[in-house]
Amino acid sequence: MTKQDPQTMPRSAVTEKIELGLAKRHRRENIFRAFGLTAVIFGFILVFFLLFDITSKALPAFHQHWVKVDVNYSEKSLRYAAGDNLADLSYRNTLRKSIYETFPEVKARRDKRQLNGLFSSNAEFAIKEHLIANPDHLGTTQPVWVRVDDDVDVYLKEVEKLGEPLVRIDQKEAQWIKTLVDNGAIEKRFNIEFFTSSDSREPELAGVRGALTGTFLTMIVTLVLSFPLGVAAAVYLEEFAPKNRWTDMIEVNINNLAAVPSIIFGLLGLAVIINLFGMPRSAPLVGGIVLTLMTLPTIIIASRASIKAVPPSIREAAMGLGASRVQTTFSHVLPMAMPGILTGTIIGMAQALGETAPLLMIGMVAFIVDVPSSFTDASTVMPVQIFLWADSPERGFLAKTSAAILVLLGFLFLMNASAAYLRRRFESK
């Protein structure tokens, strides 16, 4: 538009035609904007709903009820004789006797069994640890806090009125629980063990530490292998390789590889890495290598795109000043392409983080209690842990599953945040 006053301007036929169509074009633009905005809002609502749903389901998992048992560490019930090793005593017997002393009215065998069922199966090991830590408590009665059984825990979290039967707790058990609560022998505590203990078949004992460590180890292997390999491949193909039929074929194949279902990589891992090279099953090292195969195409494609986006003038300027091709690439092109490469890497790693299918073939879908301490120890990863818990019949695992999803999301968030930080540093250079 010029600065002339439109009122005094002679209206040409063209202008009139434009003005006629103007309303329609405005309407189209508005409709498109509305569509875009709706899409964004819709996405946000979905994400919000998802997070809300998971979080609300996960919350119960962060608390655990504990019950106080007055353990009578009598030498008789422990079947202790002077000089015995404290680790080999009869703790189950002692625990049961102590429980029966709390509820002297319970006589029938079946009732006793139900009563014992209120306490976590871990309780006998807990009172054992207590005595080993305090050997002078031998022969005395000590209050020891142990976890309640998962059924009791679920009951206490869901019940509206104490003493009423619910889920797997019947009338009798509900009354016992009520007595315990009334006596102040039941406490709700923050479930720190969820982060410090490993998988267990008892929901009240299960934690994510083993799977989290496994994920961490696997991701390190994946990153250490896929990042340098991916970037090197991309740099070579983009900056050094001649453009001919061979490189075209390689390019097509890399693109195809990105679309291969991940379970295929698992089969490859089983056939080549485990059977041919004889690496151990279930190891984060093997998992990392398999996930590297899966991540590589993503990193290569993203890196090539971002190297291609570096303006040729940068290369020409560097070359013009006498830099070699290697110097040009490593001192000028790569640093400028780095933010894009990091984005590609993080997308690839995020994909790898959520994979279970390829890991099934190489034995990482497994019940593993011990926390892995090296790259060759047996371990699982977070998505596998979520899958295994989601598949368990016990009620207590419902909340644990959601809680584990939250932990996995947290892990992903940390990974993304560190990538964003690195990107920022490269961009500011």
Binding site: N122, G278, R281, S282, L285, G363, V365, A366, P393
Partner: protein, 345 residues
Amino acid sequence: MFYKTLIGLGLATLATSALAEGRDTISVVGSSTVYPFSTVVAERFGKATEFATPKIESTGTGGGMKLFCAGVGIDTPDMSNASRRIKASELEMCKANGVKEVVEVLVGFDGIVFSNAVGSPNIEISLQEIFLALAKEVPNPNGSESLIENPYKTWNEINPSLPSYKISVYGPPPTSGTRDAFAELGLEGGCKTYDWIKALKKSDKNRYKSICHSVREDGAYIESGENDNLIVQKLTTNPDAFGIFGFSFLDQNSDTLQGSKVNGAFPTFEGIADGSYPISRPLYFYVKKAHVGKVPGIIEFLTEFMSEDAIGQEGYTTDKGLIPLAPERLDALRTSVLNLESVQL
């Protein structure tokens, strides 16, 4: 960047060199149905003894057998869980690969239930009616010995005493062991109540199997993934639907779900144990005898597994839904297992 590659390569070499060492963890593979029971024993074993907790993979029965029979040596598993008995072909494969002696352990039983939400009518159904409701092709109702595409849309078309709503059943997909067992015991059990179909078993085995094991695909049977918990949740939100899943899930959700009476028996602990409930299957695991003594703790693990505390009448695996063996049968089994007697088919 280059030194990162170096680190990577170094790491790989380091790992390969560490492989020569032995293994001190028992390695178990196999059925996802036995997994919940096997893991609970393993966890106890790990806590109560100085041995490492066994590693238990959930690979499915067939996949587990393949790994188990791949050979002898520390890079192969020591035990394999199975939700059915080992096949002769699998045992041959084992022998061909040097796994000469295999010890069979019968752990107990598992029931498959036909269930709906509490609040809906608790029905009584026969295996034949289940077959008529779910098979792809059913015998012509006019009595001739021919098959027609399954015409039944509602339950009361099959039997007037059944509810009048649409047939809609959530169940496991064909890849699941639960589905195999359900097809074999449930559908086939109903299918062979027709004499002329039963006669086919001898004359045309493939046809017999395809009639008895094919499930309808017109939407009445809804495949719901391997995850039984999903089926449980769908039933609670859909009172007109039925579900097919393992007994332990019914046991854990007895406040929201009820099991249907099948052939006159409720799916209860006792009914499955004494065999009056018709859809139940035995659960096994198999031990590689050559590994005993090579991998530490195998005998001790078997002793724990065979103990009264674990799989006895009131053992801790029964809390997880395993149906135990009769006491005298367990005693006999315990002796033969701990003597490491090889399986004979």
